[in-house]
Symmetry: C2
Subunit: 556 residues, 2 copies
């Protein structure tokens, strides 16, 4: 049994238990503290990042050419280039590396995976800089979400994969009674057989958090992995692959068990990879348009997607109006609404709602949320940290277009970032519309864009919110209500629509947060994605079981 497995076994056992009990549990501390990560870790991480700029990325991987034109949403040009290979060579090298990896024991592979995650954890500050300057996330969010939180998601996938593989016994003696005759006896042996080459297509906003479950579920189950980053957000996954290759090599395997497959936006290789029959598994995070193309055109049937949706909030009543406004404002502000879990549509009865501050009209609710955003952004440091920068220029164009879709409750504006004069920023836009303005709110408008939607009643609001989730997809939903009957009705409606529901969040937990080992991220039951990250279904089909059954030779 591998030394890596033994070294991390206690953590693994805890992780497996956590997937079943689903209370709070975390393996990797999200506090960016020198006491945990080393007193010089923050400075070392930033220095290491700075040292990479303008140079070829140092990775032990073959390349026919170099690609990479990353520009930070904070304005600096990264100037880092990465080795690139043809699809044919990538698949050939990955396939060759899979021979020994697929034959390795479950413990050997899982041990290597755990070691990789451990090594990634040690580089969390470097990763934070890499993620900040590719996705635009604020530094602290980049540290937490792309670092320890993503590492927890990786461990969760390994725990599920390990648990599932160990449910298949290695061997059994099968002895079937035959009345007075001797029993029929077979010795049976089972082995885990991987699918083959696994393609993981990363996204531009959460390159590690969204890709790690797929990468580690596939690696643990014996598949080799081609990591195809978004052409504008390569560095975080390049770092991941580099660290992984080192651990894989140290364990005595061909490092091509995992390979970076970068490309340029001008010469994309994703479609060629997806349609190649040598790719056995595809994991995709990205837009619904390309997600649909991937599902329809992939050569393999085994496609896991997280696409996007229109996440609703229904406001019926509250015993903490201030907390409600503050909580929603935070959700709209965090990373400028660029989370797949961020709310877009806030359904409010036209007649207003009952609150601890008395009756509030529809307009007062809308204005209350807008004012809470203003308050949150009134401190420039906090504004900068919370909003981060806007990853894509296209998001600014969407904000511009959304202004015209209704009555602007709170306008979006750039927010200065100290030290980065060229940063691309935008605070939340809040637009009031009617239920019938479905051309406005009925489409995903990625970025800091929210609609407050005037509804005839709470009942209509729940019905329309759930229906829009079933049709267009949604990952999260939130409800504010003091009525148990309303809460029960919403629980039923959103369960049927396949959306995770958060009720009466007014404190320090936000609807956009999804905790590893407790929250099932995406249900796979509406168009926001066809899979959950992570559940059993996410891992169980990444491997198959091969049987050898053997008649026992007659006793001598």
């Amino acid at each position: 049994m591998s030394a890596f497995f033994e070294a991390h076994r206690t953590l693994l056992d805890q992780a497996v238990v956590a997937t079943r009990t689903r209370g709070y549990w975390s393996a990797y501390p999200e506090t960016a503290s020198g006491k945990i990560y080393g007193e010089t870790a923050k400075a070392d991480g930033e220095a290491a990042f700075q040292a990479m700029l303008g140079k070829p990325f140092d990775i032990d991987q073959l390349g026919d050419k170099r690609v990479g034109r990353e520009v930070s949403p904070y304005g600096i040009t990264l100037g880092i280039t990465y080795p690139a290979l043809s699809v044919d060579r990538l698949l050939a090298l990955s396939g060759a590396a899979g021979e020994a990896w697929g034959r390795a024991s479950v413990e050997d592979r899982v041990g290597v995976c755990l070691e990789i995650i451990h090594c990634i954890n040690r580089q969390s500050f470097l990763m934070a800089n890499a993620v900040m300057h590719t996705t635009g996330q604020g530094f602290m969010m980049a540290f937490q979400a792309a670092g320890p939180n993503a590492q927890d998601r990786a461990l969760e996938a390994v725990a599920y994969a390990y648990d599932e593989m160990k449910r298949v016994p290695g061997s059994a003696n099968w002895s079937k009674p035959q009345g007075k005759s001797d029993p029929l006896v077979l010795d049976k042996v089972w082995r885990i057989v991987p699918r083959g080459v696994s393609l993981v297509i990363g996204c531009a906003t959460f390159p590690t958090w969204n890709a790690y479950p797929a990468i580690f579920a596939s690696l643990a189950t014996g598949n080799t992995v081609l990591v195809k980053p978004h052409p504008g957000v390569i560095l975080p996954l390049a770092l991941t692959v580099r660290i992984a290759r080192e651990a894989i090599k140290e364990a005595g395997f061909d490092p091509n068990v995992i390979m970076l497959a970068p490309d340029d936006a001008e010469a994309p290789i994703t479609k060629e990879l997806v349609t190649d029959p040598r790719v056995a598994i595809v994991d995709f995070t990205g837009s619904p348009v390309f997600g649909r193309w991937v599902r329809e055109h992939a050569a393999t049937e085994l496609v896991f997607t997280e696409e996007a949706g229109i996440n609703p909030i229904v406001i019926d009543s509250t015993s903490d109006f201030r907390g409600l406004c503050g909580n929603i404002a935070f959700s709209l502000t965090l990373y400028s609404g660029q989370m797949c879990t961020a709310p877009q549509n806030i359904f409010v009865p036209a007649g207003g709602i009952a609150t601890d501050q008395g009756h509030k009209t529809f307009d007062e609710v809308a204005v209350g949320i807008g004012a809470a955003v203003d308050k949150l952004l009134s401190d420039p440091d906090r504004a900068m940290a919370l909003l981060g920068a806007v990853q894509s220029e296209a998001t600014l164009k969407r904000i511009e277009a959304a202004r015209k879709l209704g009555s602007v409750v709170r306008d979006s504006a750039p927010v200065p970032v100290v030290g980065f004069a060229q940063a691309r920023t935008a605070s939340p836009l809040i637009v009031a519309v009617d239920a019938g303005d479905e051309t406005a709110w009925g489409e995903e408008r990625f970025g800091p864009i929210a609609f407050v939607i005037r509804m005839p009643s709470t009942t209509d609001a729940i019905a329309l919110a759930a229906e829009s989730a079933s049709r267009k997809g949604a990952i999260t939903a939130a409800l504010y209500s003091t009525g148990e009957v309303v809460i029960d009705a919403a629980a039923d409606a959103f369960a049927k629509a396949g959306v995770a529901l958060s009720v009466n969040l007014t404190g320090g937990v936000y609807v956009n947060q999804s905790a590893a080992f407790s929250d099932f991220h995406v249900t796979g039951a509406n168009p926001a994605g066809n899979a959950c990250l992570t559940d059993t279904a996410y891992v169980a089909n990444r491997f198959r079981v091969a049987t050898v059954r053997r008649q026992r030779p007659p006793q001598a």
Copy 2:
């Protein structure tokens, strides 16, 4: 908790353990004994079957018209008609029945499933007659394979589904420490959400054994089921649905939770069902041609298929030549080779093999197997019982065509069946060909058709057998060898090709037999099918998990 669940709970717990230990275990006795099933059970079953002939099938299910033109392969016309509905009405009724079924507790649903299987078991003799006179199976095989063995497969699916659903806790308290501040606390509740309407498409040869895993996996996980039988083999699934509806009704649910969806060969409804977006799950057993169509055209992504393949045997050497010949002969003869697990291609080195009877030439091996078939069929009663009848006229045409594909080692011939002068029968055809005659052996030729293929060496035989399995599909493979190195090489090759391998079967276990709770039937890793019946992946995606997380109100 339901009375049904309590009544069958001990059996369920044993079944769950059996799926994990995978030694011999069975819940339903396969001995067709009056001591087990009641002294009059055999006569009662036959009488009940006879009483059904020429009449409308008695089932509490709506119909706009009646369909059914079943003719027994033994020559009698069944003359039973079944109520049929339009696809639209079937889906509307099934969907409506799903509301309460999907909300029921795991225990309630699983209890009903266990009760259904129990009631089916009590009707095993009636089922044997129904299966014999639709599929052509001999009576004893029809009793065992379509009765208790199929019931075991049903229980296995329920056990997997139950175990998987129970891995999701019903609730948890999530409490995240916040240093010196109060922790963040959420109460979380999870519920199982079914996919919706599940379509199960049955086949003509093993209507119950192949459909039960799908039917019961879908029912247990909260889906409603439309059972679409092969138009020529309706009765066994009609009986199943009738029994199921009675138990479902007794438990207080709408019996339309399961519905028979029969059609005529002249007006088939399968394609309309498969392409309807209201169908959430499709399970298919049948030909690769239609299976491919189903996979490519289904509206849902969730498609489970068992198609077909070309199952190989590789003969390298043996310490029991007589046992080898007898065992293979039995496998070729049983149900006239109409099992999806029956071998088709027997790869033998051109230079012959070493045996306990000295060296045997290629021709001696082929002739030895042919002679063993003759011996097996020399007793007319045994011949009749083993061979059964040929389900489809098309199979006789395939035999006729196959005669011309090589050198006939043993010819096929009709075999008289006492009491059924019009029975459609055929004994095994064995044809010797060269490795290069791939147009002969390289296609599935369903029925009592086998090829003995002349190979340069055992190494080539293993390689070609495994390669043909990867390309054309295979569910089973067998190897005869006294050499551990050869056995290891075959184990590797067939594992990679996704085929279950049986080694040195010379006694009373045959390569075509697949035991519930021990053998994984189909791997899902080659074109013989995209799923395993049953493993975790077969059940885990039939339901999803919905979350409600709720901020705890501040303490009063």
